[in-house]
Structures are given as C-alpha cells and as structure tokens.
Symmetry: C2
Subunit: 548 residues, 2 copies
C-alpha cells in the first residue's frame, strides 16, 4: 500500500503542518532579520533527496512482518520511510533540507489493534528488530531517531477509535493513534472535550501526548495530559500491562506515572482512559498589560496560588511582547511593558473574570480587553508555521523550555538567556531571546524561550553549542531540562544528570524486564546500560547543579 | 537511652492513640452489641507479656550499629522493641492482646539525619540486616511486619525538623519523622497549613504519609498527600536519590511517583518538599440529608465533576447514618435517609456555600445546618478510640476501603457488602456493614467500610476469611485494593494480581537495583522475586477480574 491509502496526515516531511496554512514572512520581519545579520543562503537546500539510501531490512525480516500484519501494512518504499524520518526540531528540519537520510526507518508498519502491536513486539524482540512508535511524528527532541541501529517505524494511525465513553465517570477510552484534533471531534459529537491543546495540536496524537507528558495551552484549567490519564494499556515485548482501576489509589507506586513519559522506551501505549469534561458554553480571552516581567510574574503567581485560576494563563517578557505580540493599538500609551493572555472557559466565566480583574488590577495590571486575547486565541497554532520561511531566509530559529519553582524563575530566566546570548555571540551571531510563561502551578511555572539569530555555515553545530549552554544554565539553576517537550535523544544526557545515576539504573532495570532485547526506541530517553567511561562521567558532570 | 529520653509518642502499644482520650462505650452501644451476639470473652488478654521472646541480633551486629549511631541510639530493651511491634489493624491489636511477639523487631535504632540513615542502610546491606522504617507506626495493613526475618526498626523521630519554607514558591521541606500534628504546628507558626488530616493524624508522620500515599479528610480541597509532594529525598542501600526540580516536568517518567507509595521497600524517605497553603481564616461545616445513598452519590458526584468542590465531602450510607451519625434532632421528620458532611475552608467560603446549596438542593438534598457538620468536625479523630473498648467487649470491628470509577461504585458497594455478610454469617457471626464515601475525584471516589460482628473463638482467622472475601469482591468489581490504607503484607497478593505479574517484575527489578541484598522491609508491598509455584499462581488468580 502507499501512504495515500491510509488516513491522511497533514504534515509535509521537513516542513511544519498543513501546507495550506504556510505563511510568508511579513516585510517588517524581513527587515528585522537584517539587523541580526541574517542573509539568505546562496543555495537553499530543497529537501529533495534521490530516493535511495538509508538502512534496509533483510528479506526474511520483512517477510516475518508481512506474515504478521499483511503485505499492505508493511511499507518499505522510500517516500513512506522519508515521511517517517525524525521530527520537527530545527536541527531535524535542517537535516531534512540537507537530504540527510541517516535517521530514516528501514520500514514502516501499520498494526491495526493492540493485539497486533503486542504480537509485533513479540516478533521484533525475537528477531532483534528495533522499533520506534510513530503517531503524530511531532517530536522536537529527537524522540523518533534511535541511535546506532536499523529500525522499523510503528505507525499507530490505524489505532484510531474512540472505544468508549463512560458518561457517569466522565472518562473516554481512546486509542493511541487518534490525533488530538480527531479526538476533540469525536468527543465534541458527544458533548465533551479533553481540553488538551498543545502547539503541536494539528499533528500530535493521543499516544504521543501520553508517552511524552504533553502539556496544552489550557493546562491551567484542564491540567496536563498526564493528569488526564486515569488508565492505560501498554504493549511490551514481554506482554501487556493494564493500569488504572480507580482515579487514585494507595496500592503501591503509581505505575501509570512510570509508563507516562516513557517515550516508547518501555512499551507502546495503545490506548488510554482519559478524564473528559463537558464542552464549555462560555468563553472569554483577554489581554492584560504589566509594567515589566517581574510585576507580571508576581501577578500570575497570585492567580496560580490564590485564584481565580483561569483556563489559559500566559505571560510574555518584554522582548517577546515587543516582537511577537505587540500591536501599536494594544500597547500604545506606554513604554511597552509586558502582555499577559488570560482565558476563561466554562461555568461562571463572567464572575471569575471579574474576580480576576480585581486581583490583577491590585497587582498593577491594566486590562487591554478582549482584542489581544482573541488575536492570540485565533493565532495560537500559527507560530510554528513561521519557522520554515525563517529558516529559508537564513535565520536560525528554535525554542526550548524548562520549569522550576517560583522562587527560582528569575535566576533561571536570566541564566538561560545569558547562556544563549553569550554562546551565539561568541559564534558571531548575536541572538534575540524571547521568553514566556505558559504553564503555571501553585509552586512554580514553566519558561519557554524562543531564540533567533543568523545562521552560521553549520547551523546544526551552531545550535548544538547554544542548546548545550542553555541546558547547563538550566541545570545550574536547579530546574528541569524539559517541562513539556520530553527527553528523546537531545535531552538524554542532561536528563540522566538531573535524576542521577541510581535513578537511571532503575529505569535501565525496568527496561531490561519489559524489553530484554533492547528493541524499543534504543538510545531514546534511557541511556544504554553499560560501564560508564570516565569521559561520559565528565560529560554528565557538566549538567550538575552547583554544589551537588 | 530509654524511650522516655526521646520525643514523646502518644501511642500505647496495642491501644489506639492518646490514653487521655480513651473512651467508654455508651450504654446504647453495649445494648446494640447484644443483638449481634457479642459477649465479653471469659478472659480478656491483657496485652501483658513476660518481657522475653522475639528474635535478637548477634552481638557483632549490635556493635556495628552502635559504632555508627552511638550506644544511646541503638536500643534493644524489651519495652522499646514491643512498642515498635506491628501497627494498628484489628488483627494487630488482637495479637498484641495475645502477647504475640512474633513480629517484634530485634532492635530499635534512632538515626539523627539523612546521612545517618544513608550510612545505616549501607552497613545493614553489607551485613544482611533487614530494616523497617518506623515513624508514626500507624499502619493498618501489616506494613511494619516483614516476613520471615530478624529485623531492626528504624525509628525516624529524630528527623524532626521543618528544614525550610520557601514563601514565594509556597513549599516547605520537612523531615520524615515529623508527626502530622507537629508539622501543622510548625507551619501554623509561620501562617501556613498542609491541610492533611487523615484519621491517623494524631499518630502518623510525614514520612509515613509519603511512603503510603496517605489521603486526608480534607482531600477534596487540599488533595492527597502524593499530590502535595513536589520533591523528595530517599536513602537506599545503594545511595541517595533526590527528585523534584519543578512542580511538574516532562523529563521522563515521574519517578517521585515510584518512591511515593513504596512503603519502605525501595528506600527510606528522609525528607519531602511539600506544597503548603496559607492557613484559612474562614470555615464552615454543615450537614445535608438525602433520601438514600443513590441520591446522595449522584449529588456529591455533581460537586466533584462540576463544582463547587468543598474542602471536605463525605457521604454515609443508610446503615452508617443510622448507627454512627444519627442524632434524633438532626434526622427527625423522616424515615432516615443518609447524611453528607460538607466542609469549606478558605477564601469565598460564604459564596461557595451558597453555590453548593443551590446544586445540592436541586439534587434532592436538604440542608441540616452547621450542627451535624461541627459535630463531625470536632469528633473526627475519635472513631478509632471506640475500637479498643469494642474489642474488649468481644466485638470484631475493622475497616477496609477501596476506590473505583463513579459508574462502578454501586456494584462495588453491593459486592463488598454481600461478601462480608455472607462470609461472616457463614461463620455464625452475622455482621453490620457500614459504608461511606470520603474522597472524591472527577472520575470516581473511595468507599470506606466498617464491619462489626461478634468475635468467634479465633477472631484473627475469622477476620482473615472475611477480608479475603472482601478483597475478592473488590477485584471482581475491577476496583483498587486500597485507596489510602496502602498495601503492606495484608494486601500484597491482591496488589500483585491488581497490577499483574509483569508490573510486579518491574518493581522487583527496581528493588534489586536499590536494595540488592533485600534488606528493606522484606516481603512488604513487593512479592519476593522467585519462581512462582503453581499453588501461588492459583492464589493470585483468586483476585483476578472476571473475564480477564
């Protein structure tokens, strides 16, 4: 079979999202890029490849898979494999453009049920064939690129069912291959919503959300994805595990939380039982201006700790406000300041809005009305579309994110910004660094950074150095290496340092039980179990917190 | 040193709580017991033992511990060891009364810091000395009684410090040996509360709350204890693990949730970082009556799913309402019905109360005002004190609890009740079975059962059969074996069946990494890793859900 016979995935390999939504850069942006020294590369790599290359499976191996799934669901043509190559980080896009097939799967398979996934893992384990689960394909951390091995991409799109809604318990059992958009559509037909809207919403899937602990833009109101999961089914080479007999339990460790975030390295999540909510009938998004980021941070902390907690709560810093969100009409009459977006959905929206207005006004905020809120809401999935034309123009643009406790955030923000500026300036490409808070908790919040500079001749290496500097600043500030992008291969060493060698050993031991032949996403998330060389120990120590 | 030199623990071995709060049974209760066929045993076991017995450590082993901690913190006198013997389940109390020293530790040690706990585990691992962490000692599931081994109780009461409060992040770092009551006192002095008030509040400790996933009576408003923990430090025989650099993270599985609920089997939690809240200035507790449990259940589900969610929300069934909570003045004018307790704390209490009144009235409820609410609030820690005089009188009285999704609760309640009634009736001691809901979530709730009958000649065996029947009914209904009592030894086999053999293997693998010599609470929570005999497989299968 070919890709076109399967349910449509509106993603073009190497370019974000639905081609119909591709954008051109505004003239003002092109002008601004000149100030960063950005110039269009002499020859822009087209992303065209010659249709050969990449490792392949042996005939016997393909036969074994065909026997299990049927010939139409085992695909080895170049186009399909290329479409399942890596994800959507900037280095990924740059490698696509360079026609780099090094991370291409040897085959793509399409199991049609949990039992087929389970059987597939049994066969692959027996034959030593590495597999990587693929659903939305929207990883930005190298989560689809196992290391040093030929592998098969296990595309889960045929696991596309809303299995059951329990209206009394307000839960829905949904298969892993269901896109976020499709899940919302299926639930909306019954009057429900999940309320999970990450920026990857147009591409990502339920299984990916679960495997990476995704967090959506409405996380303040609806929670993170891992907080929505009350049950799950995971296929492993050793068999199936089903977890979740109650919302919460004191029956030992919460093993759901061991599978959530395991990124395909411990098993393939085939379905989840999710808490759902009635679709909201009221909605209000508005903008608020604060004098500076410090004042804005104190104000949103007040909401996160004492309420009223809105459904969406975001705060851009001065640089992001000026560049991304500024509208002369919105932020006139002042020297700039910072913009917060506050969105309410559901019952008591007007009352909660009024209560919030009292709190934010007391905290120094000024209401900008619904204009900026609606502008943000309607454009909320558009930002990633800007990256492709920016890369085309010769800009380096990438994002990274972290989270920490409230008291650590100012130093964390300053440290990461300084690390990025220093590193990229030393490479001759001084950057602009933008930052916002988009997920809040009683005890802390996330920080999301956007970096823009001119590309050097080797932008992949350029970003690698910048990212390493940022990672070290995150570790030094005692924060986590990722709030919602996950670990993949890009964060693996920093993650290992974050949890420490003994915790890494426990993950390796769990992996040995569930995946004794190490076929599940090898090298992703969990460092290979082996004697550390002293060189590796030195590398880990780069990420240690001062004084530990 | 002797017990009296150490900070006071107001618990008498084998009898619940502070002796000053001991109660006599009211005459009406004594009369009611007669109807159950309860009669005072001819000779009541006094709990007096002859001061000998129990396994002991070898001289060299004691010396090693003394070398590490100092002679005053290694105690082997009988009185101290007896005071650290088992917990507070009814079988535990019955064994105390029988003078049964079989579960007595060989020594009690009092490390004074995380580093001393860490060093202690190193020495004990090296020498093969089993250890059980002991803080509040309030386990009701055999969580302090390792199986088939001489062991040392590691009493954590010297880890008694509030280490730090971060007022910006609203977190407190508290050591494991701090009692719940002491923690509230320390936090109150700074204007904060944890809001964790389990029925074991007068005895239990912070470390125990964490190790067992405790849930307090205010869980609707303040959350479960595992939801309050944002960071933790755990000592293991292989070294220390520190987790929690942010409220939430996408950096792999949430390993905090692997340590929480591990009941001392994976390590000894020495301190936790907890989310704290300002002490509430407003409070209101009131009673509501519903026609029957079904109507009441629908009403509290409405609050759990659509709000307003109170801080405390409980619903007694008809039997519990009639026996435990009935006050002729409160429930006059009707044929009984069921009683709900609704408590609010904190901001907007009057408004939330008014919103709730609207919801509950629409759901068929009738407000009984603050009288029943205050009565419950003031007596909330008194119920366990009734058990000792009931046992003295020859009654069998015990509690058990579970949780499930809302749609499963009616069948779960009926199934467990029927199992208990059938089993105890078949033993010639027909019981009264009471039930309440005390912890609610959007997708489900807990059920808490109290069972009262006459004792047979062998009440430990009598209860074992009843408990097994209840456990099987819980498994059959697809619910969890425990919502907040934890696993210990009593629930271990049912727990293994609940998570399945592959998940059990992963826990065993984690334990092998952290505790290679199996010294940590052997046989508690995690079944020993070994080839299953076919007899054991049969035993497990008793707990399997129908059709799985």
């Amino acid at each position: 079979m070919t890709e076109s016979d399967l349910p449509v995935v509106n993603l073009t390999p190497g370019r974000w999202g639905d081609p119909a939504h591709a954008v051109d850069l505004p003239a003002a942006a092109l002008e601004a890029l000149k100030h960063l020294g950005v110039h269009r590369p002499a020859s822009t790599a087209s992303g065209e490849v010659d249709g050969t290359g990449g490792r392949e499976l042996g005939g016997g191996e393909v036969e074994g898979l065909v026997e299990l799934l049927g010939a139409e669901f085992v695909v080895t043509d170049f186009e399909s494999r290329w479409a399942h190559t890596r994800g959507y980080s900037t280095p990924d896009l740059l490698r696509y453009r360079a026609g780099d097939t090094s991370e291409m799967p040897a085959a793509v398979v399409y199991p049609g049920s949990h039992d087929e996934v389970q059987a597939l893992l049994g066969v692959c384990s027996e034959r030593g064939i590495a597999v990587v689960p693929y659903a939305g394909g929207t990883s930005v951390v190298g989560g689809l690129a196992p290391q040093g091995t030929t592998f098969v991409a296990v595309d889960l799109r045929r696991l596309d069912k809303l299995v059951e809604i329990d209206e009394v318990s307000r839960t829905a059992t949904i298969e892993a291959g269901v896109r976020g958009t499709a899940a919302e559509g299926l639930l909306a037909a019954r009057g429900y919503t999940l309320g999970h809207f990450p920026q990857s919403y147009e591409g990502a899937s339920i299984g990916g959300y679960a495997a990476t602990r995704s967090s959506g833009q409405s996380s303040a109101g609806y929670g993170r994805f891992d907080q929505m999961v009350v049950g799950l089914t995971v296929a492993t080479p050793r068999g199936t595990i089903e977890l979740g007999r109650a919302p919460m339990s004191a029956a030992g460790p919460d093993l759901r939380q061991l599978i959530l975030g395991s990124e395909g390295a411990l098993g393939i999540i085939t379905s989840v039982v999710l808490r759902i909510r009635p679709r909201p009938t009221e909605r209000s998004f508005e903008g608020w201006r604060f004098a500076d980021f410090e004042q804005g941070l104190a104000a949103i902390r007040r909401l996160a700790q004492d309420g009223p907690l809105p459904t969406v709560l975001r705060l851009s810093d001065e640089a992001e406000t000026a560049i991304n969100l500024a509208d002369p009409d919105v932020l006139s009459g002042g020297s700039g300041g910072v913009l917060a977006i506050v969105g309410f959905e559901g019952a008591r929206t007007p009352q909660r809005r009024a209560e919030l207005a009292e709190v934010l006004t007391a905290a120094g905020g000024e209401s900008l009305g619904e204009g900026p809120g609606e502008t943000w809401r309607q454009g909320r999935y558009r930002a990633p579309y800007l990256r492709d034309p920016l890369l085309d123009e010769g800009a380096l643009v990438e994002t990274l994110e972290t989270a920490g406790f409230w008291s650590t955030l100012p130093a964390l923000k300053a440290g990461v910004t300084e690390a990025l500026v220093n590193e990229l300036t030393s490479q001759g490409t001084p950057p602009i660094v933008l930052c916002h808070v988009s997920h809040v908790y009683e005890t802390g919040a996330s920080l999301y950074f956007t970096v823009i500079s001119a590309q050097t001749d080797d932008p992949v290496a350029q970003w690698r150095l910048a990212k390493t500097a940022a990672n070290q600043a995150i570790a030094k500030a005692g924060a986590t290496i990722t709030h919602h992008h996950a670990v993949g291969t890009d964060h693996r060493d920093a993650y290992a340092a974050e949890i420490g060698p003994l915790a890494v050993e426990t993950l390796q031991a769990v992996k040995r039980v569930l995946d004794p032949n190490n076929i599940l996403s090898p090298g992703i998330l969990i460092p290979p179990a082996r004697e550390e060389s002293s060189a590796e120990r030195r590398e880990l120590s780069e990420y240690e917190i001062d004084g530990r």
